[in-house]
Symmetry: C2
Subunit: 228 residues, 2 copies
DNA sequence: TAAATAAAATTGGTCTGACAATATTATACC
DNA sequence: GGTATAATATTGTCAGACCAATTTTATTTA
């Protein structure tokens, strides 16, 4: 006689996951319907439904109302949910997060230059030009700044690195930070200098500029910490 | 009259999450029971249960059989599940992952040295000594190697950085890589040299050794790519 | 009175059956 | 063949029941 230490739902979840991986199912593949799973696993519809709901929550399955069950496209949304919970519980030291971001960006420069990756310099320049325009027009500058840094990460052509960098940025998006309005032009120039350094394949120069680029933020954080 | 575009379960999930965050509930706080939620949200037990299951899957709630519902301690387990799905779907270029790991470790050295963090040198030495012993005794070396690198990350005293590094390592644990048995002694010496470099606060030297430390792995990867 | 034990109440786990809402498929029509 | 319609399949929600695990309360005992 078998000892049922875990719940039926957990068992169902395990068996469904195993099936997906052993049969190498890919995103958007149609999966079994609830009824089929009931027959296959010999449990009630309740158990099947709760297993499906659970697998949907972590982005493994996608249940379409009236349309059936499908293997889901891996998204970072559930991770965002999880990080949000973590943030809400532990909080996050803004300084720690900025240090992490700095390391990620310095690392991107290293990956690009040491591996001699071909970078679309014009694209970076175009983004930075748009950034310049928003500064001049006194519009919202955040968008193009973010795009510039994102493009820098993507330029590594390392999708794994991009994924994790994206997670860090997701985490960052949960934090509110008052940004100073001065220094925008300086940031623009630093972007430009980074592009130049990348073109020259000078890691040291690129990283030096990047560190300068982060300095005002750390100065701000330092001030905040002193004030409290 | 309201249009019900999302499912009741999704609405329940949102309302429960909102309640947790707005009331600033912390891990291990007792949450409402199913019955209470039924009265509160005016939906069937099915809907409540599916919402709870979903929130449990992403590590926000913990449902204890017979004991009630609690706010969960943030864990990385759900993220591990998600990354595993991602890995199984897209695969992961081992080279990309190792590059990411290298960046993380180089970054750790930078954080430690530039911020002049006090590092427990003796602890690192002790771990490396244990590593040495397992080499000599021809036992499993992986454990102490992993502990050494983990300690290096933790030495940054940047918990945010540690969290993300842990995710990368979780991802790494999914990948099987044949490691060569030679070069273990070299690795031991490199660990030791890193410790020395940290003690001297020499970022350049520490990073140089770390890069040397990763070289054989990249060489291996390079060979594998050539062979296929 | 305090601790150990037993009973009761609470709470989550699973099952069944039913009907509604939605998506897919088959059919009839032009 | 294409389109509108009907039939079918599938998921969403509800209600009620019973079991299992846990907690609370009551009772007994030292």
């Amino acid at each position: 006689m078998a000892i049922q230490k875990t719940s039926l739902v957990d068992i169902a979840i395990d068996r469904i996951k195993s099936y997906i991986y052993e049969h190498n199912l890919k995103p958007n593949d149609k999966f079994f319907s609830e009824k089929e799973l009931i027959n296959k696993l010999q449990v009630s519809r309740t158990v099947i439904r709760e297993a499906l709901i659970s697998l949907q929550a972590v982005g493994i399955l996608q249940v379409k109302s009236g349309g059936g069950v499908y293997v889901a496209e891996p998204k970072l949304d559930p991770i965002h949910t999880i990080l949000k919970h973590r943030y809400s519980t532990y909080g996050v030291k803004i300084k720690e997060l900025m240090q992490t971001r700095e390391i990620i960006e310095l690392g991107a420069l290293r990956l690009i230059i040491e591996n001699q990756i071909d970078v679309d310099i014009d694209h970076l320049k175009a983004l930075n030009d748009s950034y310049y325009e928003t500064i001049m027009k006194n519009e919202d500058t955040k968008k193009y700044d973010r795009l510039f840094h994102e493009s820098l990460i993507k330029a590594t052509q390392n999708t794994t690195y991009c994924t994790f960098a994206e997670m860090v940025n997701e985490y960052f998006s949960l934090v509110k930070i008052n940004e100073k309005e001065d220094g925008l032009l300086l940031a623009y120039k630093q972007h430009d200098e980074m592009i130049e350094a990348i073109r020259e394949r000078s890691l040291q120069r690129a990283q030096q500029v990047m560190k300068k680029h982060f300095e005002p933020i750390f100065y701000l954080i330092h001030q905040m910490e002193d004030n409290k």
